[in-house]
Symmetry: C2
Subunit: 356 residues, 2 copies
């Protein structure tokens, strides 16, 4: 008899609707594991977030990097609170993990999901893209400063830092991702006409890595022109790679064009598997609906499915996605998607489907 | 009898389809001036661009800033050529003017134009936005560099520089622009959750300038979330202001969402009127259709209309726009808009309309 795999998952619900969607997802994944009986999965609650900050002065524990390294993966909710400046909360928690853990590949599959509708008349069959975002450097390097604060002659900088190593590894990852998809098509996004250093390095590294992937068809787009292509010729796009900020923007746009940011998942991966990877919905805290019980859990379900693939439970992931898609297709949807179900209603429906 | 105003306009057709759309526009504007008889306008050809560069090693003449300062305005075509790296050509010409001339306000009206169709099912009445882009600093400050070029440990930076003066003047301009529109609604776009210096300064300056405009309703959006709003709630948007790069991206997106980048105009303004302002289509060189005679001249017509407003010929501008709209509404369109007319066909139709 094969031995049963067992996984320890850190659950960081965080702020806003994070706790609602994470708890929804844990219910569903535990039900799935129990039903299948092929693996064990244990979620351990980690209380980091704005409440923790108000008590301790820190968003995370002092030994947070060491303590988080013992897990197989991290399921993350959201961070951000109306009473703390966003740059404090985000750098206190989420950005304190992505960079330091070297989770350099942020992967965002985007497709028109059952229950959502692509708002583009140019995309008759909906959208199906795979977005790869550099997640460890660039515009999020954290460098820069302010001089003469408050004076009329104040000057501030935001310094984007790009390294050859950083670009090369994400480029290789993106080419491999493109290669694994049926169309084998990659678009490299930069803005090397106005930014002449790191962006030109991106272009050079892209051209050099491409030589190792003769079977992948690739092209280059300027980020501004890329938005036009996403709107006007969505079918011409398959896999996309770009910088931390540029793909932050394009991935939100993509989710909206596909139908809803409420279903969009995201994986923060360390492809070398030295650190646990983080799986999180794209949507964020959503202050306006906290505690109303109507948060859409689908983005977190999908993120958990990506997590299951990553830790090695591909069949379970496929099972989960099948159930979620059937429930959504049946119209059991939260209000943001035009439905009348609450979060728990969606959870119950998915659990029922899982048990079938 | 009132004296007749006379204007000297520098025409810089530049590269790609620039010469085609600029020549089309000069024909139309000259016909307009002749028909109205209320002002004189003279276009003087300036040969800067890639051909000039190949001959002289420079994109512009040595005394270019002084020589350009004698004009009342500049009509610009495009710059960029397949055989010169974009960062050389753009910094050689267009970006050598915008910053040094302190043309700090890049204004981009975006609306669903006759003959174009908004591809969004969420915008039943089309789109009508006014985008204001900071045009003299930020990500286009030109700072940064590369170290250890070619080594595995190569590191490159792109340094965005934001000054209080730079932010304050564009913010004031944006609030004034919003105030002059019926809805008096302004959205300030930043990304101050991940970028903690210049972006936070943007937030601070916005809040302080807003106090002088109690009649303008304003809100703040993160640039990624703004793309979602543009797609999902286009009607909630009126005037928008943001950084050089962020609005570069959003303005291309906006033009595509409104219906076509082929009609989108842009004004690079010095609101202090010390330098001549530049009026240019958003579309760029469009290498693929050079010399085919099918370039869409509408974006340049519209840019010229914005120029006429700026130099003081508001009625002529309105006249011109009315004619262009009627021609487009009649279906006399270039192939990019689904029509079967060539550039000269559109020019002739507009000239005919002007003469009526
Ligand atoms: C919350 C914010 C810092 C974050 C980002 O900009 O990376 C978010 O927008 C995302 O896309 O994950
Ligand atoms: C050509 C390029 C440098 C330019 C820019 O990025 O500003 C263009 O995209 C624009 O929007 O005017």
């Amino acid at each position: 008899m094969a031995s049963k795999n067992s996984y320890r998952i850190a659950s960081i619900p965080g702020d806003g609707i994070g706790p609602e969607v994470v708890s929804a997802t844990i219910q569903v994944v535990e039900k799935l594991a129990k039903t299948l009986g092929t693996f064990d999965i244990n979620f351990e609650h980690i209380p980091w977030g704005t409440e923790y900050y108000k008590k301790t002065g820190r968003y995370v524990s002092e030994d947070y990097l060491d303590s988080i390294r013992q897990y197989d993966a991290i399921l993350f909710g959201a961070v951000g609170s109306p009473d703390v400046p966003d740059h404090i909360s985000l750098w206190g928690l989420l950005l304190a993990l992505r960079g330091p853990l070297q989770l350099y590949a942020n992967v965002r599959p985007v497709r028109t999901f059952p229950g959502t509708k692509c708002p583009l008349t140019t995309a008759t069959n909906g959208i199906d893209w795979m977005l790869v975002r550099e997640n460890s450097e660039g515009e999020y390097a954290g460098q820069g400063g302010r001089s003469h604060v408050g004076q009329q002659w104040e000057a501030a900088t935001e310094v984007a830092v790009f390294t050859r190593v950083g670009i090369e590894r994400i480029m290789r990852f993106a080419f491999e991702t493109a290669r694994a998809r049926p169309r084998k098509l990659l678009t490299v996004v930069t803005k090397s006409n106005s930014m002449r250093n790191g962006m030109v390095l991106w272009d050079e590294v892209a051209a050099s890595v491409a030589r190792d992937f003769p079977d992948v068809k690739w092209d280059k787009m300027l980020v501004d022109a890329m938005t036009v292509r996403m709107v006007a010729k969505p079918q011409s796009i398959d896999t996309v790679v770009g910088t931390n900020l540029q793909m932050d923007i394009l991935s939100d746009l993509a989710a909206a064009l596909a139908g809803s940011i409420g279903v969009a998942p995201s994986s923060n991966l360390d492809p070398t598997r030295k650190s646990p990877s983080i799986f999180e919905p794209v949507h964020g805290s959503a202050f306006d609906i906290i505690g109303k019980g109507v948060a859409n859990p689908v983005a977190t379900f999908w993120s958990a499915a990506e997590m299951l693939v990553w830790i090695g439970e591909k069949d379970a992931a496929a099972q989960l996605m099948g159930c979620v898609e059937r429930v959504c297709a049946a119209g059991i949807l939260t209000p943001d998607l035009g439905g009348s179900s609450d979060t728990q209603g969606v959870v119950d429906a998915v659990c029922l489907e899982v048990g079938k």
